[in-house]
């Protein structure tokens, strides 16, 4: 039996790694991956704590939905990034800054 704290630690670590990737990477795809990390951190939490919610299975349910939605979001995002690439020939978000004040 792995203590709950470990799940939490790992999920927190995952979240932070994801966040770091989001903030530091110079590539939109890598940012997307960072987002996935963060999502998965949350999903991990849900599943881990779902153990206390056997009746409704809320955690597991949520995890499933989240996975599906994450996939959809990634698909949409990838399509959009592709679109960006066709115009900019680049997917570095620091370069793409035409819209600004």
């Amino acid at each position: 039996m792995i203590p709950l704290a470990h799940f939490m630690l790992i999920s927190a670590a995952l979240f932070c790694i994801g966040l770091y990737a989001v903030l530091s990477k110079r590539n939109a795809i890598m940012i997307l991956i960072g987002i996935e990390f963060m999502l998965n951190a949350a999903i991990l939490n849900f599943v881990a704590f779902g153990k206390y919610d056997k009746l409704h299975m809320g955690g597991q349910l949520f995890a499933l939905f989240a996975i599906v939605l994450a996939a959809a979001a990634v698909a949409v995002s990838l399509a959009i990034i592709l679109n960006v690439y066709t115009y900019y020939k680049n997917i570095d978000p620091t370069v793409i800054d035409q819209l600004r004040d």
């Binding site: 939490n45 704590f49 409704h56 978000p93």
Partner: protein
Amino acid sequence: MNEFTSVLPELIKNITTGMPHFLPEIVLIITFIVVILTDLFYPGKKSVHTYILVLTGIVISAFFTILQYQSSVNGISVFNDTLKIDRIGIIFKLLFSAVVILYALFIKGNTRMQNHTKGIGDLYMLLPGALLGLNLMAMASSLLMVYLSIEMVSLVSYLMVGYVSDGEKQSEAAMKYALFGGVCSAIMLYGMSLLYAFTGTLSLSDPQFMIRLAEMPQSVAAIAIILVLVGIGFKLAFVPLHFWSPDVYEGAPIPVTAFLSTGPKMAGFAVLIRFMEPFHTASNTSQGTPVFDFVAILSVIAISSMIVGNFAAIWQNNMKRMLAYSSIGHTGLILMAIIVNSNDGIKAMLFYLMMYSIANMAAFMIAGKIEERTGIINISSYKGLGKVYPLEMVCFVIILMSLTGLPPLAGFMGKVLIFSAAIESYSASNSLWMLSLLIVAALTTVVSLFYYFKIPLNAFLRQSDEVFIVKVKRDALSYISLILTLLLILWGIMPGLLI
């Protein structure tokens, strides 16, 4: 597993009894599927069929929603407490339907969208989906549904922004929107997972939710709640989650911008109300310290939103960007009504939202029409347009007056109601936050005048250097915006018609 089988029939019963209450949404789902199919089989370039179908579907769904109004005085929870149908939710749903219908009309009237190479059918197809998401947001009463509906609306919005990708800017806007949204929803999800971890339930109306949360250390609970607020705030675009909005509003096609500034934003408020509900019932019943001090944090957010939105708007030259900032300012103002958190506050908020969405829609319609006809997107190029488009520009001015909050227009009544609620709350609580909110709201109203009035300034007060040789033709959009303007005047003089 046995435990589960014992509750299974009850669960199923729960679902079947809930179905009638879900009728409007079912209609939307059916419309959605039918539209996909129609568009597949009758792909005509203008997609007239899809257009008509979408409108019909939405109208039917709205009709069912109206039917629900009588039966939902006390609020009905369906689907195991995931959805809650009450009057506020229904009003929101009706508002969404209205906004989406206007949106559809807008797309229909916008020739640039109509002439797009990819055809317009896919965009119509998204409308029922968007409305479905919005409706769910209005009804969501569990964390799962909150996340689900928000993501649904987000996905649809990403697609809308990226859909007519005919330029660098637009694709950039879509990318920013999607990535920013992704990060925010991930953060929100993490917050939700923490909340789930602390409370063991997803339902917001479950009493356990609050009891358990109150047992947690305040700072820890606060972290989870703030993380969830990030997700909601992304939809509302309040400070500091507003960064995406000017860029995306500018980059997106005008009808989409119009939609983004109204639909999802209103839904965000609906979700925020839902999310805060248990906290308030808890603080009303129990004597102890509140679990989370929404007043302070939302006041800070509201004040900074009003300041950032209104002051940054002063310098904008791009019409859409200006409206983006101004809508950040309006968000701050509407948050005031939420902070008051009384029945009056919500009523005031609903009235204000209604005015705001109509005015914003109409404003974008006119701006879109002008952009389409003359290619003008900058306010400084509006010079002399008052003579070319007298009807449109007069409407525009009235709309902007309403947004500023000048009597006798609906915007003024909205402001009065919100201020009334805030002052009432202040006189009850003597909270310093309320007072500072009021003062900032009043000050930023003056500031807002400054940038809104750049448009009449250019359109009427200045003479154009060049002669417009565009053909002045009034089309459906002109008349729709005229009707909306008249509505603003009517509600300003007779607000009793609404409430």
